[in-house]
Symmetry: C2
Subunit: 475 residues, 2 copies
């Protein structure tokens, strides 16, 4: 990986944007290296790297002594647009059977990894973290073997507090509570603020594990639309709050799983203030924000929280070490309740995992690793989009996320994505069918594809096979 | 540690039993080495080791050319007897505040460790497990970094199944579900079989975390007496089952925390059959059984389970690696429900912890380690009893457990053990006050002391100070 992982990608994006806007069409010649270099103020070699990359992706072809020419019709599938859904009444959640089937792929090596949202091990600092783990366990066998305090290993707690502060989140050094992954943070948060039978406001579509969590806890869900381009609208939220008795909300500020929507910072501020007026807790799933492709890290809801009503949940599972099972919770005013729940769930989180990640953070390795990971994820998502366009039936639309790790595909209406899921599974291809992301039936022709792995022959074959299946289902 | 860790202790116990029965009194001369050796059929050096050990403990003194003489009045405090309590109606659980205060000592180094029930690190195979951990993480960085399947790392699942089979538990190789400690197993088990508002039958006294767990889950408790000598009586259980609507039971088969009671195997069989007739699930806390001081491992309830109604919960926290947070659940017929709950709590358990313990078991190291640990725990408990007798006010009674790691003390009636707890805490001495082990008030003059640490000056001072405080509270 070069010194400037972003620069050539900027050039690439520029070309792709020109194509989308129609400024470059099939058969057109790309501007010369020299011209592009001077237009964009980057080096010749950077432009060259971008052109070669586009050639590798099959977007352009090099013709001897003539330059690079566009050889593909369109760049990407059109953006998906979700029609504003009727905000139905609260309903019990009953997707657990299908979700369970989808989850069976977790931790399996024999499946094309388009179903599970996790970074491929090759993108993680395996050797570095493994070396740090062995060192801290060897040097502190006693610390590794003993219970950590219930809130977590103090060094890790502090490291997470410092990182949160850097992100503009108002937090004291001892505020974070360590959890066994983000899912556990969400579980504790929700159990701290809800009682069985309560109604919880969620985005639609939403991460299926939230639905499963609500079902397990005997909670009811009311859905507000999540628009891939504009996230959650304060107006929609206001409508629900004034119509129903809401005990809590679960919202993803950025790169909502599955539609990768990002709620604008202004809307976040408005939502936090609207909820504060009504004393309604907001459980924030911040697990994807670190995977932003934008220059600036988008804000979290927690940044606008003056009342301690936002419970921010996050983890290292999408960025550093899924198997270590280390997440955290900034519990706001619900600290005591969260600690009670943690004490009766598993008391404390694995000590070797905690002290290894604390040391990784202490050595300042996270920032550089994240920069590389983001760059890789963006590239993978880009490549995936190009291949989808090639193989999927016309009428397919897809999100164009500015971060995260998943794409959300709207297939032609006649396709039942649960059927596609089972067909794919029979070919050892994992995908997530739209039905599991809502209590309603409006996503029956959607699928979510993970972009967590570098492009490979396995992925290439997987996407091609999926496309063939999708074509067949339109007939 | 010698080749035969048990033999000299058998001799010691024999002497102590003679003292308890009055066959040896203050000032009496111990039988000669030769006589004792021939009586008990052990070597001279074994008898000598036992006598020297008793001298070290201050029970006997050696007089030159005369032999060993009893120099202490009585050996141990008398056994505690709990009067059969009225089996009250089910009641909500509300101890969580006090329990929280007691739990604050978890993971703290600055407190005399009489409060938390965990083995001292010096009794754990720190170096061995640390070496295995570093090796498996170094050799399998990818396996350590990735999610394991939801039920757990397959190798660990199999190892636990094999150990269970060795203990006579009917289990298939894939049955165990790995959890983040035993507490999590209990949490999942209880959530699988109960709904908020349900009534759960518990032993009285019971482990305070169970009360906290019931409170957190909105469950009600009905208590049946746990007798230190005879555990739970099938008759008492029958009475409760025919009087109240019971959704589930939590029972500890052996060395119930805090009274270390062991329910006889015959009673276990009867209880399992009684519950099966009524289709009532039994959540079994088996975390202490491996710490038996008896030759034979006492049975578990699960061994008598024909209907899949027993959910056995256990962990390595009291025997191998508290901080690794690895436990398991044999879920019987509730497997699917448990997996659903696990998927919405934290998906999977820390991979480095799991694969390290799997390898430790695979190498066959556990059996030898447990043998040493049991021997050490028994010795520590013995020593603790002798010191209690020396320092605590008359009227104090104590359990004489045949396993586990805690002693349960009945203090003179006028002592409020919550008061003693706060006084001790002010001197950085951790103890567990009786009140937190029941929803009723009958244990207000009881305390639980942990025997997890080898005898030391710190413990000596701690027990002496505690005794002084207890004396003062009787005035």
């Amino acid at each position: 990986m070069g010194q400037e992982p972003y620069r050539y990608q900027t050039v690439e994006k520029h070309i792709l944007a020109m194509m989308e806007q129609g400024a470059l069409a099939l058969g057109d010649r790309l501007p010369s290296l020299r011209k592009m270099s001077s237009n964009l103020g980057v080096s010749l070699s950077t432009v060259n790297q971008a052109y070669v990359e586009l050639e590798r992706k099959g977007v352009v072809e090099a013709r001897p002594r003539s330059g690079f020419f566009i050889c593909r019709h369109s760049m990407r599938l059109p953006r998906t647009e979700i029609s504003p859904s009727s905000m139905d009444s609260p309903r019990p959640v009953t997707r657990i059977g299908l979700i369970q089937t989808v989850l069976e792929a977790v931790g399996r090596d024999d499946t094309v990894p388009l179903g599970v949202n996790a970074p491929d091990p090759s993108l993680l600092p395996l050797a570095e973290l493994s070396r740090i783990t062995t060192t801290v366990v060897r040097e502190n066998p006693k610390r590794a073997l003993q219970y950590t305090p219930i809130p977590g290993d103090p060094e890790l707690v502090h490291q997470i507090a410092f990182r949160s502060m850097e992100h503009g989140i108002p937090v004291a050094p001892d505020d974070p509570i360590i959890t066994t992954g983000c899912m556990e943070a969400l579980n504790f948060a929700l159990r701290s603020v809800c009682r069985p039978g309560d109604t919880v406001l969620i985005q639609s579509p939403t991460y299926y594990c939230f639905l499963q969590l609500l079902e397990t806890l005997g909670l009811r869900a009311i859905e507000v639309p999540s628009d891939p381009e504009n996230g959650v609208s304060p107006d929609d939220l206001h409508h629900v709050l004034t119509t129903f008795d809401i005990a809590a909300c679960i919202l993803s500020p950025n790169f909502n799983n599955p539609d990768s929507s990002l709620t604008p910072d202004r809307a976040k501020r408005e939502i936090v203030s609207m909820l504060a007026q009504r004393h309604i807790p907001l459980v924030e799933d911040d697990v994807s924000t670190d995977l932003h492709f934008t220059q600036k890290r988008p804000d979290t809801y927690k940044q606008y929280d003056k009342e301690g009503l936002v419970l921010l949940c996050s983890s290292f599972s999408k960025t550093l070490a899924p198997g270590y099972r280390v997440g955290w919770l900034l519990p706001g005013r619900f600290r005591q309740k969260v600690l009670e729940i943690k004490a009766t769930t598993n008391v404390s989180t694995s000590a070797p995992s905690q002290i290894a990640i604390a040391e990784y953070l202490r050595q300042g390795r996270m920032t550089r690793h994240l920069k590389r990971l983001r760059s890789a994820m963006e590239k993978q998502m880009d490549t995936m989009q190009l291949h989808l366009e090639r193989h999927f039936p016309s009428g397919t639309r897809v999100t164009h996320p500015s971060g995260g790790g998943v794409l959300w595909l709207e297939l032609p209406h006649c396709i039942d994505s649960v059927e596609l899921f089972f067909q794919a599974r029979a070919h050892s291809i994992g995908i997530a069918p739209g039905a599991i992301f809502s209590t309603q039936d409006k996503f029956s022709n959607y699928i979510r594809l993970s972009c967590g792995s570098p492009w490979s022959e396995q992925l290439d074959n997987g996407v091609r096979t999926l496309g063939t299946m999708a074509h067949a289902l339109t007939e």
